[in-house]
Symmetry: C2
Subunit: 330 residues, 2 copies
């Protein structure tokens, strides 16, 4: 049997109520007894039973985090940001990986919800409607990070529309007129829609008519990048390509290499995300870097502030980081 507050109370010759007050730093107590109690707690190897505490208190300071198990490597960066902020503000994170099958998803989500949660943060997830229904039926705040959902769920992400303008402008300034966008042709996700719209509008702004064929690739995978090069064949009908995720861009780069296309002299690549992955290639990928850590921090502080109106969309900054995969065309 584990040590309880009562055991400490007995040994200290005071009541459990007092021990509770001391250990949680709530209410009034003398520093004298407090000292003794804290010492005893340490000596006796006391661990708070959070289940009991949760049960007794109404509110909780636990934030559930849903992470896709098809692990985008920027999820780590978001979690890091969340964790540091949570630590600072005294919140606790409960992380759950969500699987691909619907049945398992629901089970995972339910088991998460069966802890008394204050909020659930969804990382880069386009969650199934049935799962979303379960989440909504529970009395928790919802928040989507690095993704916007179709629904009235507040979100924190990059301004994907503006990001495309930044990239297209950059490529345009380097003389490129024919550009492709790979990995954002999935019709559903809002992020993909925004990227397509931004891409097309930016081209239009520069007086470039847009070729629908040049928006290609549904999945955010390495294979999509590889396949894109094969699909368009030689000679490539564009001089620059935007990869919608670092892993796609690595696929593009390797696909180009495999096809004997030299990067950047014969093909320029700009990648979206800007994780450490971009440093692993030769040449290093030119990237628009999203501020994932910031997204994570904002997630927690927004939850803490109760500043979550539904429909609210928060953007974090993006930075274009020039590297080795864009050349100037004369």
């Amino acid at each position: 049997m584990a040590i309880t507050i009562k055991d400490i109370a007995n040994k200290a010759g005071i009541s459990a109520a007092s021990v509770s007050r001391i250990l949680t730093n709530r209410g009034r107590f003398s520093e004298e007894t407090a000292h003794r109690v804290r010492e005893l707690a340490n000596e006796m190897g006391y661990f708070k039973n959070q289940s009991a505490a949760d049960l007794s208190q109404k509110s909780s300071r636990v934030v559930g985090v849903l992470v896709p198990i098809t692990h985008t490597n920027f999820a780590d960066e978001i979690i890091k940001g969340m964790q540091s902020k949570a630590y600072e503000l005294g919140y606790e994170l409960l992380i759950a990986f969500v699987e691909t099958t619907n049945q398992q998803q629901i089970k995972t989500v339910k088991s998460l919800l069966s802890r008394q949660l204050l909020a659930v943060v969804m990382l880069a997830i386009d969650i199934d409607d049935t799962v979303l229904a379960v989440l909504k039926s529970a009395d928790v705040k919802l928040l989507s990070v690095s993704n916007q959902l179709n629904n009235d769920i507040p979100s924190i992400s990059s301004d994907n529309y503006a990001m495309m303008h930044t990239i297209v402008d950059y490529l345009y300034d380097h003389g490129h007129r024919q550009m492709a966008l790979i990995g954002s042709s999935d019709p559903d996700p809002i992020v993909a829609i925004l990227r397509r719209r931004g891409f097309i509008d930016a081209l239009t702004d520069h007086g470039i008519s847009y070729n629908p064929d040049f928006i290609w690739g549904v999945d955010m995978t390495y294979q999509t990048g590889l396949d894109a090069i094969k699909k368009f064949g030689l000679p490539l009908p564009f001089t620059a390509v935007i990869g919608s995720a670092d892993i796609i861009s690595i696929g593009l780069l390797n696909g180009a290499l495999d096809a004997g296309i030299s990067v950047p002299s014969n093909l320029s690549i700009v990648t979206v995300d800007g994780t450490e992955l971009t440093q692993l290639t030769r040449p290093i990928l030119t990237a628009t870097q999203q501020n994932f850590a910031k997204m994570g921090e904002l997630a927690i502080s927004n939850i803490a502030n109760e500043s979550l109106s539904s429909h609210s969309v928060t953007f974090t900054d993006i930075t274009l980081i020039p590297a080795g995969t864009v050349t100037t065309i004369v």
Copy 2:
């Protein structure tokens, strides 16, 4: 106020005890009432309050998982394995990322332990002694995966000693006589010790005297790989190099590229781990692949079986996967 079993009981005109029995599938009840109760639970949007359940029951089926936040990308694979097994056997996973500062680590671990845990699994962590002390003081089973700890904590990992033999044999068969091992010179971790010993013994078995300089590099980082090539300079004093982690090997590969060394013609590389990262390079990395998913599954089933004697070490299989970074020397 959330729905409780009492609410359901009232509506169904039965007692809370019965509802509990039905919803947990324990004890006896009529299928007739059961059906009605389950329906009501659904309709009313009932969520079990796991805190209350944990409090009420003695035992728990929750396994805590400590994941290093400096994210080795194989951690995902282990977690996937754990999750599928946990799902199958009815266990719940509570994942916590552990930070770098000691103070935060302890806080994270304590908050994890304050849930009623059955066991704590440490993924590839060389945990600080003070943190370990906290873990040991709690009444939970401990298990280390993909790492062996100095202490009497059972572990599941690859046979790192044998793995080095496999690699050295493979390189020897391909004509290599001068080999280096990068990223395992940290004196402390048992895994590093085993790899060094395996490396040296395997060389000895082939009658090759081992050069201490050829074991180099403490950190399991990309930079270690890059630096290794710079350190040894041109011409490289060995014909083959073993990277102690995929990310190191990518560093080695890029370092070689940067130095104008062609892989594999002028340098052969074998990597340890064999995650998807190995597919991202050109040429693709020849790897000894560890079975991370299996490690995860075993972790859960060992906990379930109570088959954890301290000092017990379980190995999973490794596979050498030939690819493009090893050449034959004549």
